[in-house]
Symmetry: C2
Subunit: 201 residues, 2 copies
DNA sequence: GTCTATAAGGCGATAGAC
DNA sequence: GTCTATCGCCTTATAGAC
């Protein structure tokens, strides 16, 4: 069993730091202390901060895409949805908010190359959800009250915001609401009116 | 007509800077140059950066709350929804993302006092939307497929994320999707199945 | 590859003249 | 109130020894 190279450790810890404090919220000094090297060693692997962050984002996209692709499309749709939603709730407990979600707020301070990766991340997740909803729609033979692609945009946005605001409010309420609504939509509860009582008049 | 005091200008420009680049993304130097004073003058009004930001957030909450309260609750519900959603699309064209949405990502680097204001902002908006949806529900006499409070959480989260990602992708698609869904929900299109065609099999 | 040393400038913040 | 001047520290980044 081989230990992780310094380069790998740098990328790993940089990812955590960015997700916690953002691009402008961490320094080469912070990162160096975490890994146990001097800042000049970071420059050896990543001459400029942008080089480091770009590689962190590239790796994140790669893994995130692989995780999406690993959800077997022949499974029952509801189970696919659960495999999509499950890890999100785990991440929250570790204060591990989505890298793309974090950086999307700082986008004006980021190089264009990074911006492209962030867009790709949002696009890929929206498309995945939209496809799931479309299949659920045809499987049921009854359309949603809202086009699947639009519903996917709303749900993924709500998921992203739910993750980000979880550490603000110390609660995963918002993520849970979005996740439940996604699962509900796949189950078809958005077509059949359910039994919750309306508010008082 | 009196000109704005230096203090007011500082607060105004600081708000813009934070909304563009975040708490860690602007300096007293940036702000001083915008207002046309020296950095030491900023310290005269706001001894520490946290004092400045806290006051910016307090003011934002105050105005935001006033804007919510200014929507006449005796108007038709759909018109209330339109008055809520309309300004959001305007802000996007000015690259003016929500202050609370921006700072919510940086929450780990912020003093607790600020955190409280951010929570209050999200809470207030969710509650306003939830009340609107509840009234729409009783007016129609038919419940949503999803509880209004949950729907409000999802929709406001999607709105927030739509605003933030607009300047990443150069498009207001996500905000539009969330806004349209909110308007649709008030109109009742989430209870009656509409006429959009399901996807190919 | 990793270090020491250092550059060149940014940062928030303070003292004190006016 | 606003300024000049300055402090002490942090930032990214580089040069060169080992």
């Amino acid at each position: 069993m081989k230990t992780h190279s310094v380069r790998d450790q740098l990328l790993e810890h940089a990812s955590v730091l960015i997700r916690q404090r953002g691009y402008n919220g961490f320094s080469y000094r912070d990162l160096a202390e975490l890994v146990g090297v001097k800042t000049s060693s970071i420059h050896y692997y990543f001459p400029a901060k942008d080089d480091l962050v770009l590689e962190v984002v590239r790796l994140y996209r790669e893994r995130s895409q692989a995780r999406l692709a690993a959800i077997d499309t022949s499974l029952p749709l509801i189970e696919q949805a659960e495999r999509y939603v499950g890890p999100l709730r785990n991440d929250i407990e570790l204060n591990q908010i989505c890298l793309a979600g974090m950086l999307s707020a700082e986008v004006l301070a980021l190089p264009d190359a990074i911006r492209s990766y962030l867009q790709a991340h949002f696009q890929a997740n929206e498309t995945w959800i939209a496809n799931l909803l479309r299949r659920a729609e045809t499987e049921r033979g009854q359309p949603y009250p809202v086009p699947p692609q639009l519903l996917a945009k709303v749900l993924y946005g709500a998921i992203q915001n739910g993750i980000i605001t979880a550490r603000m409010s110390g609660s995963s309420d918002r993520l849970d609401a979005a996740a439940d609504m996604l699962l509900g939509a796949v189950r078809g509860s958005m077509c059949a009116v359910t039994e919750h009582e309306p508010a008082m008049a």
